[in-house]
């Protein structure tokens, strides 16, 4: 209990119990607080990661990438966020309004949900459940639903075709990914993320097929818009 996150949680717990709140309510409040902080943290880190990705991809393609807004263009993603927020939302005629709005929510919510079991440090983890790998597989496949929903709802033949192609791609890589995930489970004899990471020894597991740390990399690897 020496890390900052857990010590702050303990401090809040003692403060709230001094107010006379029940144990269950305190746990609930702390969980809500944890979810909000984790989700916000991820979205803010995402802004920085978009900048890093754009810079690196630009170098691959012999370009400079964003370099105007702020030093080395680091404010560029924030400017993009503001630009996207004040853009007009265009709903195509005849689109299924409910599904059209639901699909981006599903697609982003599943990505956020995956991070509930990703270990940040030995004691800092959203939820250290013992079936974390199964959870990742289960939640990860919901994202496909959001894509087919978006293709169907926008009342556009090309969008539907694109959605079919994307789904074909996503279900094609899913079975090999799950088989690859079996290896760290087999080596660690556990599906909990912390157990898998703890049993991963540096330099030993690199030579082996995907080890514990590689799961996190697999989670990170996304089928982005430029691969489709």
């Amino acid at each position: 209990m020496s890390d900052p996150v857990n010590s702050i949680a303990e401090w809040l717990r003692t403060i709230m119990s001094s107010w006379g709140l029940s144990e269950g309510l305190i746990t609930l409040i702390l969980a809500v607080l944890g979810v909000v902080i984790l989700g916000t943290f991820l979205l803010i880190v995402d802004i920085l990661l978009v900048w890093i990705e754009r810079k690196i991809v630009a170098r691959f393609q012999d370009r400079l990438g964003p370099n105007r807004v702020g030093p080395y263009g680091i404010i560029q993603p924030i400017a993009d966020v503001i630009k996207l927020l004040i853009k007009e939302e265009i709903m195509p005629m005849g689109a299924d309004k409910f599904l059209f709005n639901l699909s981006p929510i599903i697609a982003l919510a599943t990505v956020l949900l995956l991070w509930a079991v990703v270990p940040f440090a030995p004691t800092i983890i959203g939820a250290d459940i013992n079936v974390a790998v199964l959870y990742v597989v289960a939640i990860g496949s919901i994202g496909t639903l959001g894509i087919i929903m978006a293709g169907w709802a926008s009342n556009n033949k090309y969008a539907l075709l694109g959605a079919f192609r994307t789904v074909a791609q996503m279900i094609a890589y899913e079975v090999p990914m799950i088989i690859a995930l079996l290896v760290p489970v087999l080596l660690a004899r556990s599906m909990g993320m912390q157990t898998i990471v703890k049993c991963t020894k540096p330099l030993v597991h690199i030579c082996r097929p995907p080890g514990g740390r590689h799961i996190v990399h697999l989670l990170d690897c996304r089928t982005g818009s430029d691969t489709i």
């Binding site: 746990t27 927020l85 007009e88 949900l113 799950i178 088989i179």
Partner: protein, 118 residues
């Protein structure tokens, strides 16, 4: 352990709020002046022809069925992998046989031409 599941339950409830907020904020601050030309279905510059929500031949329909079967069977391997060193030799060989049956199924579907992209 129970606390962890409470965390995941609350995450399930709250996670849709983050993208929903990103959709709702433009409702408040962005301009919204739809007209018939702007909200027309955009396909490739030509006017849309016919209905969009037609029955569509998904070329990989059987492929998707095979995927479903493999997906579910592989999930069955996870408990086997967790209890791997406590299992008797019999169960380990059973697991290998299970995988071999799957491989035979894969070769059968391959032979049937399901894996071909039409």
């Amino acid at each position: 352990m129970l606390n962890d599941w409470i965390f995941i339950g609350i995450f399930l409830l709250l996670a849709p709020i983050f993208p929903a907020a990103a959709l709702l904020i433009p409702r408040l601050i962005a301009p919204r002046k739809p007209n018939s030309l702007k909200s027309e279905t955009y396909e490739c510059g030509i006017e849309t022809y016919g209905e969009t929500w037609v029955q569509f031949k998904a070329q990989y329909y059987i492929f998707a069925l095979v995927f479903l079967i493999f997906d579910i069977e592989i999930v069955f391997l996870f408990p086997w992998a967790v209890a791997f060193d406590q299992l008797p030799m019999f169960a380990v060989i059973e697991g290998v046989l299970f995988i071999l049956i799957l491989v035979a199924g894969l070769f059968y579907t391959w032979r049937k031409g399901v894996l071909e992209w039409v």
